[in-house]
Amino acid sequence: MTWEKLRNPQIAWRAAQDIQDNAYVNLGIGIPELIAKFQPEGRHITYHTENGVLGFGAAPAEGEEDWDLINAGKKAITLSAGASFFHHADSFAMVRGGHLDLAVLGAYQVAQNGDLANWRVGSKGVPAVGGAMDLVHGAKQVAVITDHTTKDGKPKLVEKCTFPLTGVGCITRVYTSLAVVDIDNGRFLLREKLPKLSFDELQSLTGATLHINGDVADLTVPDLS
């Protein structure tokens, strides 16, 4: 194969390009958090973390951490000008009440009807859900950022999730290591794909039919290495 899948920072970069000026955004723990690093210049984006901070910035320098000032991933953060603190019920009022423009989460599986599975892969081990089941409801747009397939090559974009669901019909856009896919009326609509990757090849790595409506743009991102 002549194409190389995007690395996580590259997927994050692509997702970052879509965040509008003045948006309020919640980035899930892990890969979604990378998105903030690639915020396009000139856009003012306010980040929300569900443990009760609106308007935070990058991590502090090592040794400068204040461990009462952390994000949902329990990492130390710094405040941006115009920040505010609030308790958990107010924080999830922001989430559930439709006050965030965008939430971005990771995924084990996304189904063509917008179902998301991202909190457990089976019935073994200790289950943990955190804020995921709340975050998938309420934000004006809920997007997923993920590798296109699992480590052993299985599709993560599927007809129907086989892992336990996080939410039903909640995802509207998926940024993967190979493509950008919208969820539109119960089907995957391909918007962008890696230029060197053929449609047939992408389809073979996807667990449900990819539809096309108009042009499929080239998914091109900086090297970032």
């Binding site: 609106l54 019920a89 922001m94 009440g97 409801h137």
Partner: protein, 240 residues
């Protein structure tokens, strides 16, 4: 990001006919009289916005503020807990003449329904009004052997709010008991417009002291010397 609106006229420009409009304040405490009067000015000049549904704890007092809106004929319906005041004539006359509708809501239920709208909670159970005529037709369910009434969220198209300090991102503080319904209404309206006594740069309010975070606010307009309903009434001012 700068949510500053330069004039009261511009601040109230979007409110449309038939809109549901929340107005903060409890009596005159925390009441955004200047926004209300700017809206009345617009109505008198253009005939719009008309047929408004107004949500407030009360239904106006004297001949200013919400009472003046009612007298001007802009209000089709009030949703409130207590449509009485020291001079409730504006509402009373129209209500008894059948010219204005009233949805009466217990005060705590009113507050919680507004909060629920802001918090994405479509309905909740409350003990208030169980067994009374205000619970007529509502779903009742027992919890721990006690009956409760199901109440629904109460959303609005617009909210008019009075704050003390505001920053350019819309972060707000309030003055004394002027808080009342204001922070809740900020959460519950599609578009929230706030008059504050002073607008400062983002970062000017200690993050610990922000009462309403800016994401609940769409526009802030500075009114350095705001009108106070109670004082207007005591000095006999008429705005209608």
């Amino acid at each position: 990001m700068d949510k500053t609106i330069s004039t009261l006229e511009a601040a109230v420009a979007d409110v449309s006919d038939n809109a549901v409009l929340m107005i903060g304040g409890f009596g005159g405490s925390g009441a955004p009289i200047d926004l209300i009067h700017a809206l009345i000015d617009r109505y008198k000049a253009t005939g719009s916005p008309a047929k408004l549904t107004v949500i407030n704890n009360n239904a106006g007092n004297g001949k200013i503020g919400i009472a003046a809106m009612i007298d001007a004929g802009m209000v089709a319906k009030m949703i409130c807990s207590f449509p009485r005041s020291s001079d409730p004539r504006a509402f009373t006359d129209k209500y008894l003449a059948g010219e204005i509708a009233l949805e009466l809501v217990p005060q705590g239920t009113l507050a919680e329904r507004i909060r629920a709208a802001g918090a994405g909670i479509p309905a909740f159970f409350t003990p208030a009004s169980y067994g009374t005529e205000l619970a007529a037709g509502k779903q009742v369910q027992e919890f721990d052997g006690k009956p409760y009434v199901l109440e629904h969220w109460l959303k609005a198209d617009f909210a008019f709010v009075k704050g003390a300090l505001g920053d350019t991102y819309g972060n707000l503080t309030y003055r004394l008991a002027g808080r009342n319904f204001n922070p809740l209404m900020c959460m519950a309206a599609r578009k929230t417009i706030v008059q504050v006594s002073k607008i400062i740069n983002a970062g000017g309010i200690d993050p610990e002291e922000v009462v309403t975070p800016g994401l609940f606010v769409d526009g802030v307009v500075e009114v350095p010397d705001p009108q106070q309903e109670e004082l207007l009434i005591r000095t006999g001012v008429e705005y209608a």
